[in-house]
Symmetry: C2
């Protein structure tokens, strides 16, 4: 992703120049492959309202709207600084085509009930929720910088709180996609139970014969369908450092990946 | 697997004729690929004591001992008729090399505490437990024949009871492998929690771009290591009906698959 450097932020191209993101240059969570793979789980013909929970600078939500021409999105981000980067991204001339379809909401995804509604997340108001939650467990080595730590350190019960919110704000047959580390699978399935069904798991392998470094999990609100495990996305399948054809298409917004049968 | 028919049972070759199994001809659960893949999760150099829980006619346990020359096994099977087939298999001249290393125990895996110890399953007495539990949920269409139904119909809480037994009878650092349907993953992870760690999941795909039809789950008793998802076993990778090279090697006892890093 080519980058133009400025003192405190960068402007990074995604989808081979299809849209651009203003991001903190030296601190905070910088978006990349994970956000693009997550966005690829929304079907091409999606035309509803999307919530990107823990949106950071808005990479995943913008990637969905860059591909789904009439969809709308709300980016929900707790950090005022990251929400500010999302607003700067939307102000870029290169992103003008979805500027009017995206709203930035500075709010804590973990809020519940009346507090959640008060900050603007209404019950049963979204067709699709995506989330790329903070992914380092609190037992992992702490990252030095505070904003980066906020984005990366997983608190106990995070999936329970975030999926409670996702379930509440989705319409009855709304869909969910999240990207996380395999280590979180048991917590994710526990938090999905009794809220979501039709769970699909897509392992993301760095190369053909290596263990997954990420899992993408999809689900449908209120569904009673069983769990499925899908063929993996293999990021690099040869000896070169290039992405595989399939991974590149997903990361660059040229294909979507659905886990419906 | 070539078969010689007789009125009420068949004698089936496994591991390309490496060992033979006496099985009911027309009813009951007949062993095949699942049992062979499960057995492949035990490393070649395993030399301890194995328990095959819900062993049926003993396919998986015998497959381990056919490959691991000095290991010993206890086959635990509730059905008197299936346990009888296991004993007939051990009596075959072709299986003589592991006859003295296998014990058949007619017992219900779901028993707990003193009852379980009384029937011969002592606490902390096994190095490895394998299980291929009944896999149809009670909501599925019932199979017509009673013995087959007993082998295939999953009761609620089955994984909780079977993994409670596995945890109890394993030595402190003992290992577990099971094969199940993907739909059971949440139940399995819930029952493993607080008993096992270092969980590894291997999806079994019928072909490269299809959802998994089975999962193999491995774990270590008392481990605190995180969960991993491994590259899938792809059963058939071409247009022919032949097994892939990797699947054939595992099914025929020519390779084992470990999920240690």
């Amino acid at each position: 992703m080519p980058r133009r450097n400025t003192p405190d932020h960068t402007i990074d191209a995604f989808h081979r120049g299809g849209f651009f993101l203003v991001q903190p240059a030296h601190k905070g969570h910088r978006a990349g492959m994970d956000a693009m793979l997550l966005a690829a789980m929304v079907p091409d013909d999606f035309s509803g309202v999307l919530a990107d929970l823990g949106a950071g600078a808005g990479a995943a939500g913008m990637a969905v709207l860059a591909r789904c021409a009439i969809a709308r999105a709300t980016l929900v981000e707790k950090s005022a600084e990251m929400a500010g980067f999302a607003r700067q991204s939307l102000a870029l001339q290169q992103n003008v085509r979805f500027r009017d379809r995206i709203e930035v909401l500075e709010a804590d995804v973990a809020l519940a009930g009346a507090q959640r509604r008060a900050i603007g997340l209404q019950d049963r108001s979204f067709d699709f929720v995506i989330m790329n939650p903070p992914f380092n467990s609190s037992q992992d080595r702490r990252t030095p910088d505070a904003m980066k730590a906020e984005a990366h350190v997983m608190e106990d019960g995070l999936f329970e709180r975030w999926l409670r919110t996702a379930s509440a704000i989705l319409k009855p047959d709304g869909r969910l996609a999240l990207i996380a580390r395999p280590q979180s699978l048991a917590d994710i399935l526990k938090a999905l139970a009794n809220r979501f069904g039709g769970i699909g798991i897509v392992p993301v392998l760095p190369k053909p014969e290596a263990a997954a470094i990420r899992i993408i999990v999809t689900a449908e609100r209120g569904s009673r369908a069983g769990l499925s495990i899908w063929p993996p996305i293999v990021l690099r399948d040869g000896k070169s450092q290039d992405f595989s054809v399939k991974a590149a298409a997903l990361i660059n917004g040229e294909a979507s990946l659905t886990t419906d049968n």
